[in-house]
Symmetry: C2
Subunit: 336 residues, 2 copies
DNA sequence: TTAATAATACTCCGGCGGAGCATATATGGG
DNA sequence: CCCATATATGCTCCGCCGGAGTATTATTAA
């Protein structure tokens, strides 16, 4: 079982993808670039093993060069190597067809959107690509109107009865139906189900259906598998909020508790219980009250807070609590 | 900012590393292979982009071929691409010096150790490589005797005063000193600190110190950066236990609650409060009481349980609670 | 029969988080 | 100046979870 002797020198190209996220005026945004076929894509750079000692160094370098933003928080997300995702990428990259491109996805956070000087780059609200993930104004209409019915049809269309039941189970879990409860961090599960069911434009595109048609209400598609990478980032960020004080990578130096709450809400995609959020935020020790107040609140002035840098290190094991407001309504797929 | 045009066809080889973990008689074990220089290494296989549609398919295929184990639970851990880690690997692989090898690490779990038929493969207790991570019999002697004093010296040896304070801070957090509390999932932080401080053999080896000497009590070293990969796996598994019912990937079909507790303890590296563990395990709905009992307990017979497959899917969002027994003793590095 | 060893059953209690009510301090309009 | 409106902020009530410990029950070995 000496595997090393079997290690033959098959080579692949490695690309680095950054999901650079900010929250601006209650909107979560990611840095996007207009790709040659008109779709948005994530900033993408090659990894040059000659020049970069580590992936992260390489990533920081080309992001800084391209966007003049120096990255603060950076975390590796996942490495994507599936076949199928590479064909369009390899073509764009000028490689031979069939060249395999592996992407290492990274999540980067910044407190405010940097000005981008390139004409084809822009900050886009991420719910543009995932409208069903934003419950801040109640249940997104596209869910009940289009997505869930289509998923139910897909489940029913399975060959075997077991398979249909298994599909229904997955849908129920991912979308929190039948009282299972919406888990915001399952963004990737939801996207992958929709992809598998052929609801999103990428699915039609990857299966060479012409023209690539998607169900209305399933959001804008992105180049290659970038929407999958973005879903991974959203899920990771949402999950991590609960156990790491990562939210303060997205806050300005000073903020009111309501501002902080709005930033959290933008990320998790639903509204929080205000008083309980304040209580746990103050008790967490993660924020420090300054003596100043914000006056333009439209009501009583709000105390300004700043992140407690010490606690951010010490209590690295804790995050803010997410006091949910309303229970997810109990959808059903019919038979279960 | 069109990055695609900059995507040049630099190629690297991709390897897949598996941390295949089991718990056998209260010992957590990983599948290891004896490498050519006598050190243990993780099973390692090349990723062949021609043959494998996804990484995971490739991983499963060669692990099954090499070990006759068909992998159940598999999860991607991290992708390691740092320079420095590749030189020895590339040499072993017969590649040219300077060839870059990127490793995608995977964590795989199985309920019992499969018989391995290769002479150079074996299941090794992972605390052989991380003796400081096992607190089940109280504080590991190597910590206070060797590791913490050496780390304190390293911190004190920093050039600037700030740097020394920063080092002490990192040590305090990673090892839970001064009442910060031992966080078992920080296994990677601890290993990386020890590597940076030059305490582990790999550090001396990578810095070309001859002979590579390590502090006594810092565990057995592994080939290449495999101990780092293993530390990543341990930390990930320990963290995930708390919020996913992943422990049941490691249990036999039926088990007593004490057996389950011992498996958890083997992973997290400390003892749990027995009564509270039972209470939360039963209440979690993750286990189902069978009618049978285990008689050979040495005392009153114990009820046998099995995993509740339904709940494992439904309550995928929950894990077992880890009721800690004793508080970590309050070490100190002296000045803080 | 007794000691040893576990398994199992309860109790007590503090804190966290869900839910809601009450009060304080702004602004803008009559 | 007074009032409606909009927030910010303070406080209460309560159930559940999890930390800690005590008591009782069912085996096996001496």
């Amino acid at each position: 079982m000496n595997a090393l002797s079997e290690l033959h020198p098959a080579r692949v190209a490695i690309g680095l993808n950054a999901v650079l996220a900010v929250v601006e005026r209650e909107r979560p945004k990611v840095l996007c670039v207009r790709s040659e076929n008109g779709l948005w894509r994530l900033p993408y750079g090659p990894f040059d093993p000659e020049r970069h000692r580590t992936f992260e160094i390489g990533l920081r370098e080309w992001v800084e060069k391209q966007t003049k933003v120096s990255l603060g928080y950076v975390e590796q997300l996942y490495t994507f190597g599936d076949k199928g995702r590479d064909a369009p990428l390899a073509a764009l990259a000028g490689g031979a067809a069939g060249d395999r491109i592996v992407s290492v996805g990274y999540l980067a956070l910044a407190p405010e959107p940097a000005a981008v000087d390139a004409a084809d780059a822009a900050w886009r609200d991420w719910y543009e690509f995932f409208p069903w993930e934003d419950w801040r104004d109640g249940e997104p209409p596209c869910l009940g109107d289009a997505i869930l019915p289509a998923l139910a049809r897909w489940a029913g269309g399975a060959r075997a009865r077991d398979a249909a039941a298994a599909r229904r189970d997955r849908i129920r879990l991912a979308f929190g139906l039948d009282g299972a409860g919406w888990e915001e961090e399952r963004a990737l599960d939801r996207y992958e189900l929709m992809y598998e069911a052929g609801l999103v434009a990428e699915a039609a595109r990857d299966r060479n259906l012409q023209p690539a048609r998607a169900l209305a209400g399933t959001g804008a598609d992105m180049a290659s598998d970038h929407r999958r990478i973005l879903a991974t980032a959203i899920g990771r960020l949402r999950g991590k909020l609960k156990y790491r004080p990562i939210i303060f990578e997205l806050t300005p130096p000073e903020f009111t508790l309501l501002t902080l709450q709005r930033i959290v809400e933008a990320i998790v995609g639903f509204e929080l219980h205000k008083q309980n959020f304040r209580r746990s935020a103050e008790q967490s020790g993660l924020v420090i009250r300054t003596r100043r107040t914000a006056q333009q609140t439209g009501g009583r002035p709000a105390a300004l807070f700043r992140a407690n840098r010490l606690a951010l290190k010490d209590r690295a094991g804790k995050g803010l609590t997410i006091p949910r407001l309303r229970l997810a309504p109990a959808f059903s797929l019919g038979r279960t």
